[in-house]
Amino acid sequence: MGDFLSTWLALTFNGIAFGMILFLISSGLTVTLGVMRLVNLSHCGFAMIGGYIAMAAVDYLGFGLLASIPVAIVGTMLIAAVIERTLFQWTYGITELGQILMTFGLTLVMVAMCNILFGPLLHALPVPHWLTGNFQGGGIVISVYRCFLIVISGLIAIGIWYVVERTDFGARLRASVDNPRMARCAGINVRQIFSLTFTVGCGLAAVGGVLGTQMLPLEPYYALDYLILTLIVVATGGLGSLQGSFYAALLIGVIDTWGRYILPAGGGFVMYAIVLAILLARPQGLFARA
């Protein structure tokens, strides 16, 4: 019985760590979808770009994992800002299908560029020495790195919550999500808010990409492989709802980890089935503001 419990606790813990990474990657996407109704299939690509920038910083500049995070954030945000100012201007005002195709094209470009620059091999960033190893107690083995991951992601989530719920900028953002037209009438520059949020969201995705390489290793097809997972998080949480994305990411992280343990051969079958059920019961997502 003790074994049984500790296994499940360890699984849940790993699931939460996985869910936290999912949340970091998808938090920017939910705002993009919620505010601008832009179906952005290239969002996962920004997490991949962040990961590769960090890898370059570690390999060529001799940075540690933690020191490479700011480099990855700044680099990814610069690239995201340039793409938002240029290419994404074309995607506003076309149909969803057009947006899907255009951002899919952008993803293919990212995949090809990353392969040309960094090669097709799998990479995981080296974990600093003091973060390796496990905590042990009461028959439960917990990786130190995953603890660190949960703490950092938790802090970032609190930071996001504070900015969105407690600051002037957050109030404008919420107004723009809830009713873009009314927000514009009240003198809020919705387009500008969106550009800023998009760029910051890509920076957050970069953090997820850098921290998550132990679970989601870097490779050129990263942008396509984890795309569906992040889209599922956003759709299940409800478009534009950061809170929804947070809970959905944790839920999916935990369910997927459990599902792969119960039915190892079934892969993600359990998770997809549950997501399907959720979407059928609530097409607007779990936490949609109707």
């Binding site: 979808l33 299908l97 040309i116 569906i228 889209l231 993600g268 079958f269 997809y272």
Partner: protein
């Protein structure tokens, strides 16, 4: 009263173009002459040619759902894979007779469309995309898991397909396969053309343009869309069945969203909602990707991505829509991507 007033002239032009859609024109003849001519001009590339024909059929099925019905699905690969598995299963366990295999593929895929259609079509936009993706992913995971039925990662293989109509044996040069696929594509094309120009097809196009208005006119929009979705699924199932029969193998990679993604790319290159767009786009896409992937797959991916972005931006109606876009011809309305969303 003898001559039409200037106001009624466009109406007459519309009626003319409506009838023209039922007639055989130069384009019809040209396409099929090219397809048959390819057999004699490049006999060493019949394997690629067969793949192209099958993918044209698959893209055509996607055009029915996306181009005519406005159902933005990313899960068309599900029907393709299920149709293929059904045909392979049929050949392994019942009979290797090919045409019955096609019928089975179409029926099973159509049934999948009929069952999932009511669920999928309750939603629109991103939720619809996600549900189609989730269904495809579930089928993929199922195909990997249920080894006794689907062969798992290895796929289904080792079945023998009997001669078509008892006369034409399948050979390693794909001679029979090429004409077999061409014949099936021709039948499917005629069916698609009759359907899209029928009253049913016209109401479906109306639903694409304005679902609320169609509902106010008394059209059962949901039922029409489910019907279209089922037909499109059955056609994709036939494409999958052809793949299974001609290549002698069906694998789990048929059940990924990249299969649908590739067909969508073919469709945007050729043009949505105009049947021949699928022919031109899919042919170009698969011939180029076959040649380019042989040289360097990643450079091809880069080129493809750029091509995709540029064609959505500058050629929303595809290659077949270019003449209209450049105002060379007037008349028929396109169904581009530049409709402004809600």
């Amino acid at each position: 009263m003898a001559t039409a007033s200037p106001e009624t002239r466009p109406a007459i032009a519309n009626i003319r173009s409506a009838f023209a859609a039922h007639r055989i024109n130069l384009v019809d003849v040209g396409i099929w002459v090219v397809a048959i001519g390819a057999y004699f001009v490049v006999p060493t590339y019949l394997s690629l040619g067969t793949t192209v024909l099958i993918m044209i059929l698959f893209t055509l099925s996607l055009d029915l759902a996306v181009g005519y019905g406005g159902i933005d699905t990313l899960g068309q690969g599900a029907f393709y894979g299920v149709g293929g598995y059904a045909a392979a299963f049929w050949a392994l366990n019942v009979t290797g007779e090919p045409i019955s295999g096609l019928v089975v593929g179409a029926l099973v895929a159509g049934l999948l469309g009929l069952v999932t259609g009511p669920i999928i079509l309750r939603t629109r936009g991103l939720t619809l995309i996600m549900i189609t993706l989730a269904i495809t992913s579930m089928l993929h995971e199922f195909a990997v898991t249920a080894k006794s039925v689907t062969g798992g990662d290895d796929g289904l293989t080792g079945y023998h397909i009997l001669p078509v109509l008892g006369l034409f044996h399948f050979d390693i040069y794909f001679r029979t396969a090429y004409f077999y696929c061409l014949a099936v594509l021709a039948v499917a094309f005629v069916v698609a053309r009759i359907v899209v120009n029928s009253p049913f097809g016209l109401t479906v196009r109306g639903i694409r343009e304005n679902p609320v208005r169609m509902r106010l006119l008394g059209v059962r929009t949901r039922n029409r869309l489910i019907g279209l979705f089922t037909l499109s699924g059955a056609m994709a199932g036939v494409a999958g069945a052809l793949t299974a029969q001609v290549t002698g193998l069906i694998g789990v990679d048929t059940l990924t969203f990249l299969v649908s993604g590739n067909a969508l790319i073919g469709l945007i290159l050729g043009g949505f909602g105009r049947l021949y767009g699928a022919f031109l786009g899919a042919a170009l896409f698969y011939i180029f990707s076959d040649r380019a992937a042989a040289i360097n797959p990643f450079h091809w991916l880069l080129g493809l991505g750029i091509l995709l972005i540029l064609s959505v931006r500058f050629m929303p109606n595809g290659l077949t829509g270019l003449p209209e876009q450049l105002h060379l011809f007037r008349g028929k309305q396109g169904s581009g991507l530049d409709r402004s969303g809600p």
